[in-house]
């Protein structure tokens, strides 16, 4: 059950409760089918009077960390999810090491990463015959300007991963706080934020992005199209997280440990930060992971419509767009490789998202374990 560690430090009150993961482990061990009425209380670290910092005792930090470790362990057992994660790691590594990364100022050029996996400079033209099909020299063939497709696909990963992760991260930074505030405080704040979300929800993702890109274009700070696309996607993406998180917060805030913390006079923002959000955030994490895929696809669609990155960039969606007439001309190799790359990436990210979902949802997991034990 609960661990108790006596302490001689003054003024600290510790509230302990049942840990979901611990309870389930025990439930699983006992092959107890009826886990539906496990008291769902969240783990609380040392809930302190305002101003005091957390101090460590041996087993306390174990509890929250253990929950995540359990989740990680569950995730690890999921073969398809690990496969997805593997693909993404490989893509990320390839993207980073594809070409040297250099940062230059007026005087100095700093090389952050000197390796170059890509055989050619992706923007170097006419390194091979134009529109050549795959060959030994150019395994992915060449495009209209004689650029090596393999290099371009490798480097293109940077844009794709960059856009996907940055756009989702930005959207999370906006959506999570807003959703938490809406759900926690309720009342008119909740109404106001949710009405805003509803209004934005009425506009399809892509339509909003199409409308936003021309608006953002003239702003000089946003160079190269990368940030324009990212911002457009972030602005349209945060609403989903806000709504989802709010829903979860609505149920979490009724739990005992929250009530207890508030009774102790813990300031609202600390309660939100330490107790509410971490316990509500699971579905949002899953959704965010899955959304990286959606964002990438939407960025590709924007590129297809011509509203994307700077021309000539090796971004996969832009490559597909530039090569689209080559399809009807029978030159399949120009679109197949970037298309497959997008496909693989989104597939992998979905597998990972599913894996996270399975790993973080204890109820589901019990039945999985039961099934495996059968």
């Amino acid at each position: 059950m609960s661990d108790r560690h006596p302490t001689t430090q003054r003024g600290r009150i510790r509230i302990v409760g049942f840990d979901d993961a611990v309870a389930d482990q025990q439930a699983g061990d006992r092959e107890n089918d009826d886990d539906d009425d496990t008291i769902a209380t969240g783990p609380i670290d040392s809930s302190t009077t305002p101003g005091e910092t957390t101090t460590e005792t041996e087993s306390e930090p174990d509890r929250p960390r253990r929950r995540l470790e359990d989740a990680w362990r569950r995730f690890r057992r999921n073969r398809t999810a690990m496969a997805g994660l593997g693909v993404i790691v490989v893509m990320a590594v390839l993207a980073v090491f594809a070409r040297p990364i250099e940062v230059s100022t007026a005087e100095v050029t700093i090389t952050l990463q000197p390796f170059s996996l890509a055989p050619y400079d992706p923007s170097a033209m006419f390194v091979g015959p134009a529109n050549a099909p795959p060959s030994r020299a150019h395994p992915f063939g060449t495009d209209w300007a004689g650029r090596d497709q393999l290099s371009r696909v490798l480097v293109g990963g940077r844009y794709t991963l960059g856009i996907g992760l940055v756009a989702v991260a930005l959207a999370l930074c906006v959506g999570v706080p807003l959703g938490a505030i809406a759900g926690y405080f309720g009342g008119w704040i909740d109404e106001a934020i949710m009405r805003l979300v509803d209004v934005l929800y009425a506009f399809p993702f892509l339509v909003l992005a199409i409308a936003i890109v021309p608006i953002l274009e003239p702003i000089p700070v946003l160079g190269g199209g990368f940030w324009t696309v990212v911002l457009a996607l972030a602005v349209t993406g945060w609403i989903g997280y806000a709504r989802l998180l709010r829903g979860e917060v609505l149920s979490v805030r009724e739990r005992e440990y929250v009530t207890a913390a508030r009774a102790l006079g813990v300031p609202d923002r600390t309660v939100i930060r330490r107790h509410v959000v971490p316990n509500a955030v699971a579905p949002v994490v899953v959704q965010a992971t899955l959304n990286v895929g959606t964002v990438v696809l939407t960025a590709a669609a924007l590129g297809f419509l011509g509203l994307g990155l700077e021309p000539g960039s090796a971004e996969w969606g832009a490559m597909l767009s530039q090569g689209r007439s080559s399809l009807v001309q029978g030159r399949w190799h120009i679109t197949v490789f970037p298309g497959l790359a997008i496909f693989l990436f989104v597939l992998a990210i979905n597998l990972v998202g599913d894996g996270i979902n399975d790993a973080l949802d204890p109820h589901r997991d019990v039945s999985d374990e039961r099934r495996r034990l059968r």
């Binding site: 509803d198 506009f203 892509l206 021309p214 969606g317 597909l320 679109t335 979905n350 039945s367």
Partner: protein, 315 residues
Amino acid sequence: MTLGRYVWTRLLVTAPVLFGVTALTFSFVHLLPGDAVDAIIGFQDVSPAVEASIRAEYHLDQPVWKQYVLWLGDAATLEFGESPITGRDVSATIGRRLPATLALGGAAWLLALAVGIPAGIVAAVREGEPADELGRIAALAGIATPNFWLGLILLFVFSVRLGWFRVIPPDAPLASLAMAKFMLLPTITLGTASAALITRLLRSSMRRELDAAYVRTARAKGLSERTVILKHVLRNALLPVVTVAGLQLAFLVDGAVVVEQIFSWPGMGRLLVRSILRRDYTVIQAAVLVIGVAIVIANLLVDIVYAILDPRIRY
């Protein structure tokens, strides 16, 4: 609360949302860079008198809030004015294009349900078997493929190379067999992602239900597996699908923008993209508004249907 009161509450809440949608639509258009008058004249050299008259005609000389109110008033009576670029009545234009997108979107939606629901059921029931794995992979593949790429490939392989379908829409009324045949490829392109989503959702939803106590009870009662699944589990499992199916509408409009371009389908998606690119202000406002209102209404209907199906939600 009763269903009636719930509906009434939802309606009340929807009103400010609609209002917000109109405000947002209007501000979008006015945030677009460039002078509206230039877009209208097409950069010809015109005398100041002509320019002034154009400005007055489109109320561009009024303060912004007044333009908004004027526009809102007109929009309420479905009077969207004329396009500054073509001079043609906007309501008529939208009126002709909307059915085309509705037909395509509707067909894709039906396809998604027709394919997704059975697939989800099968995957859930045959959990762990090859059918499940196959279904999972197919669903993931459906989500991961960029829809414009899929469309281009389908078009190229089946229409251009094999010649089974036309490349451009036939000259036939919307509700004809020839048109339905042509619509097959764009519908598949548009509906695949939705079908995949519904499959996954239903599968996980049903899996969850299948673990519940009442299923054991039903089985213990001796009901056939089929009855258990179709009559009891499905009904409960469909709830999240209902929610998602309604939200798919926005998703489908997204897809339609791209699919209409590839298949030369004369719908709202193409109209919207083109009018944004050409700064066709009245059309942009009207089109975005129509789409926005349609989605808000669809969400409202989904909420109501959900409340009918699940009384617990009527807080």
